[in-house]
Assembly symmetry: C2
Homo-oligomer: 205 residues x 2
DNA sequence: TACTTTTCTTGATGCACGTCAATTTTTTTG
DNA sequence: CAAAAAAATTGACGTGCATCAAGAAAAGTA
């Protein structure tokens, strides 16, 4: 750990700053220390698709690690003041060779991400917006007592829209629909009360 | 290599047989030797989404390797007579610990797959069908002389439809559209002639 | 606390694409 | 090669959701 710490740089980003933008990534692994980072892609037509949100402890940059000199097109934007820990590609490679156990951990994380991504694709491809939204909510309930619980949305609704491959307008309407059906209640400050999770999940015609 | 070969089993599947189905996967790594395997998912509503097609040399099963006892929901079906090489999870772990270089290779492969998957999600989410189809074609041209080339579709149109998150009917129509525009020609036997790749790529309103 | 900016909501309208159904073409199989 | 099965095509029709626009609410800032 000490050795790693020795090689790592800490870097601060103000809200709105980019850790990197499409194509101009310097080959490093980024580990979020504090703050929040949106990772998204831009389509040809200029619409953005949210890929993932990085919270403290999460990392990104693995792509350039193992496939340097192949560019890819993600944007990483700090959505609030953020500090990250950067380790250069070269150094990471060293550590991985020296401590194989880290590779195994990494492989575990990567396969989880791959799983999520595949599920995400499948959902966007074949499920209706309301179904995607319900599944999204279900994924974000903190397991609590009983079947009713309240959750705090992990991101703004416009980001949920982007994540689910739809528009803010539609998301707004679908939330309304769920509320009308008595399945959820929209409280203040991104908090949602779910009356009954099973009922909610059943509501996907 | 010898050591690995010693642990590996070879297994044959007839066309239509499943290497594994959702949830009932035995913890092993599958490497395709001969034949072709469709990996897909089933949505709640029963529609399938093609995730990937395995050709000789490709592998799957990494998920259970690093996240055993977590089920996930992919189906792997041999679309023709296929032989695969199976290595038990336990043995793979051993090899990885012993030969760290393999982990690095694996990580490279995984990050490529992750990249593809993320791109796939983004495309399905925000691009129109015709754009997705064009991009799909562009990804499958073998780099050839000049700007015009012919490609052989790597899968049936119905599979392309499933892969791109749409229906066979729509795919059929979009191919027709592209042909009417003089951008491609549909030859016999899954062969497509692309007049000019740049023009094709420009055609995505 | 007032001001600015961002996010969210709501309505009206249109189209891309899914669905159902029927036919044709291609592939598979004995 | 003929018969059967699977895949592809074509038409008619309906709808889920995007889009544009404009106002309301919330969050951020001074």
């Amino acid at each position: 750990m000490d050795r790693i710490a020795g090689k790592a740089h800490t870097k601060h980003y103000q809200k709105g700053a980019f850790l990197f933008r499409s194509q101009e990534k310097d080959d490093a692994l980024y580990i979020v220390n504090r703050g929040k980072v949106r990772i998204y892609r831009l389509s040809d037509s200029g619409k953005e698709q949210l890929v993932r949100i990085l919270n403290p402890g999460d990392f990104t940059g693995e792509w350039t690690l193992f496939n340097p000199d192949v560019v890819h097109e993600e944007y990483a934007e700090a959505t609030r003041d953020t500090s990250v820990c950067m380790i250069q590609q070269h150094d990471v490679q060293e550590f991985l060779k020296e401590y194989p156990a880290i590779s195994l951990k990494l492989l575990g994380e990567m396969s989880q991400r791959l799983e999520r991504s595949a599920r995400q694709t499948a959902q966007v491809a074949v499920e209706s917006v309301i179904t995607r939204l319900v599944l999204f909510l279900a994924e974000n309930v903190e397991p609590e007592m009983g079947n009713s619980s309240t959750i705090t949305l992990p991101m703004a609704k416009k980001d949920i829209a982007s994540y689910l491959g739809t528009t803010p307008e539609t998301i707004s309407r679908k939330f309304g629909e769920l509320e009308n059906e008595g399945l959820i209640q929209q409280l203040s400050g991104k908090r949602i009360k779910i009356q009954d999770l099973d009922d909610l999940l059943l509501y996907s015609e």
